[in-house]
Amino acid sequence: MSEQLDAGLIAQRIAEDDGLGRPSAGHEVGRARRRKEDARLVTGRTTWTDNVQLPGMLYVAFLRSPMAHARIIRVDVSAARTLPGVVAAYGGADFAGEQGSLPCAWPVTEDIVIPDHPPMAVTEVRYVGEAVACVVATDRFKAADALEAIEVDYEPLRAVVDMTEALAEDAPKVHEPGNRAFTWKFAQGDVDAAFRDAPVVIDRTYVQQRLIPTAMEPRAVVASTDGQTFTLYSSTQIPHVLRVMLAMTTGIPEHRLRVIAPDVGGGFGSKLQVTAEEVLALLLTRRLGRPVKWTESRSEGNLTVHHGRDQLQRISIAAERDGRIRGVKVDLLADMGAYLMLVTPGVPLLGAFMYGGIYKMDAYDFTCTGVFTTKMPTDAYRGAGRPEATFAIERAVDELACELGLDPVEVRRRNWITHEEFPYTTVCGLTYDSGNYEAATARALELFGYDRLRAEQAERRERRDPVQLGVGVSTYTEMCGLAPSRVLGSLRYGAGGWEHATVRMLPTGKVEVVTGTSPHGQGHETAWSQITADALGVPFEDVSVLHGDTAVSHKGMDTYGSRSLVVGGVAVLSACEKVKDRARELAAHVLEASADDIEFSDGSFKVRGTDEGRTIQELALAAFAAHDLPDGFEPRLDAESTFDPDNFSFPHGTHLCAVEVDTETGRCSIRSYVAVDDVGSVVNPLIVEGQVHGGIAQGVAQALFEEAVHDAEGNLLTTTMADYLIPSASDLPAFVTDRTETPATSNPLGVKGVGEAGTIASTPAVVNAIVDALRPYGVRDVRMPCTPERVWRAIAEAPARPAATGPEESESAISEGGAR
């Protein structure tokens, strides 16, 4: 089908490239443009929020609860107030009348429990790190010192750390209505029939450990006011959503609140939030009439930036003897933490439709219960719901293969949607518009050397090599490009999923693109310039992309969920088309021709069959001068567009991972990693490659390194980077990446989104490889992160273990204790 054609086109495009990344005019899209953003970033001329200095600025520090659950008996800030340089000090009661409740925009069910969530705790604390008081001082040192002069008396309450225990009858309550926030159900087909008399049933439980997103830039907020209007700088992914929500929360009228996301050092979902510190900074600047700044430290951030994942997943597959899947059942417990933040309850729903993966089946049943615990709330973290779903189905399909004695790739082949079957409506009701799982898998197997590695694996097993080799497969898809507004509405989300763009032709022929997306590393300034350059026939260098300031970009839904290109990029293209329409009308007028006779190519509007024409730059100047315009033609070429997608987009791909497992120490080392992703058409292959690499790294990190660990009292034990292990360059392998290209049919760019793909795909590939290496020992699973100790214990405690030294204690004191 069209896929073949498009591949040909792309090959031609690359052939036209002069080898220096300079294709012929009109072919910016698809080219490995170096990023415009880099100039300020590699020279240190950045505007991180903490770099912002305003005259008379004060510094805020928060005193945070050292207990996971306690009643606040008394907060005494009087001694702190008297210290040198201290301007003010407040406890939660001082804000009680005005601080409102931090918003949850996704009440997933009618009967969901949404507890009051005061930005500063007033009567009760429910997680370690919750703010209980603050100091405002003339510098950050004095503010930090004064915290120690604040006295707080607590009456300890029992912590609720484990989700299963939280649901027990006699569990202490995190909130008065109880610890069950909601139960959300979804079913399609006759799942009972699918499981009744099924020849094979796989039933597994997986733990999605709690993660700390750890963007490199810690959060920071600067708030100021002139008495009338308020300006908030924040290290946020969502200046537009934030402005709306802050207006609703604080009562500051939306039109008098400006939110600026300056340079933002990564987010990964963690800055998709309306935070206590943002609200309190606004209240403080309103109260004190001076600018205030708060910058978190890393250890403060590990406690108080929302966490990710933390689900207990039970997944069952009913299948035929030949491996064909009849149906899938999923029962989730999702740890909400202590409160429901912006999209906390919605995260598991973003996975709810993806547990079927790329497979055909007749029946599907999904239940998710959101559970309150006395821990930091969870919320979006790269992939948000979809990595969890992909992990469960891809792990379980491997178990099915093992049960049937089939190669894991073969089981997938017998179940996946073939390329002829697109568009395909899945059992979950999603319509996958395009894809070619066969092509991506074939390419990945070839790059990986699958057969050779299997042979080596057999050989190592044969000679009982202490270092065993495992091969892991992950064939994933995801739904992204969030999102069709009507679908969000049907899922009870509080807003739409459209995106906005404005394209302005300046008198000198330069172009300003205003986007509602809010990049923080994704390179929108570059990619949007490429789209615009092609659409308008202007030089890449002549385009400037403006974003991240609600006074500049008045409308947007911001950046998350691999949505920016698929929704925001398409909005840019659409606005460009409108500019062109206006330019065409003006050209027709100037050239005294019918608009139908005007042809556009390479930035010029020409009368068909003649050399008579005007460039878009000339027309921009003509519109500016406005001396000779068509009747009723407003003097502008500028246009805007708000694009609301009809469907999600569905990137897919095949990731293969080879892991060497040292069975003596339990250490797992990735020997090779191949990723073949299909993200549709590509605007900038360099940026795509970077997104895939970074995504894989985070997914690998979940598999091997990262976990937020709490003790039985609810204390976070991984508060610093010395304890919460972010992999360095020497902990990760090189990645072999390639792409197949099956354009999305749901948008004119053919793009699918790439921000989360690597993270979604890689975690199960790694764990499947580890388990694959250890199958001869009888190992069926290793809980993530697959630490050396856990791997060693899995081997030692597995039924079929060869003679080896067993563990002397059943549990180690901390690493296995606490959390669950």
Partner: protein
Amino acid sequence: MPRITVGVDGVTYEEEVEPRLLLVHLLRDRLGKTGTPIGCDTGNCGACTVMLDGRSAKSCCVLAVQADGSEVVTIEGLARGQEWHPMQTAFHTEHGLQCGYCTPGMIMAAIDLVRDDPDPSEEAVREGLEGNLCRCTGYATIVRAVRRGAREMARGETGARTPPETGPPPETEAQSGAGARNGAEARNGAEARTP
């Protein structure tokens, strides 16, 4: 309060500092050198790496008073006028950054690494940068950037610097990514990405 003299990016400063003031606080809060960011409080992330008397140091693990009499070079002091340091250019060319928060420290650590090992292997780069964390790139493009930067540095200062404003930097091997249909082409693309 101790009085210190410290040179930063070629300018000499005399400051009275509280003993607990970290070098990175001096740079950022007192001298306005905000190009050097702070990413953690335990010396792990390396975002604040600067050159202190010619060797890389994490400026959040050095007191300002300890830097008394020293010369500091930050990311802001690398370019000569409008001409970037070859390592800055290499990070740009190889897409060795995304959000850019780790980049100043990463570039400083890379320059230090190349001083000892003018043509580092992939493994040497990965080990040499183990004190600098990046959350965006997965490191592969950083490794490529450092190796390219090393080659450019070896070629000598002259000619290796690229004026950032006067046009795009040398764009070399376009990342093909042609898709899987054309086997040979895709293979080349894949190999180009596999150092």
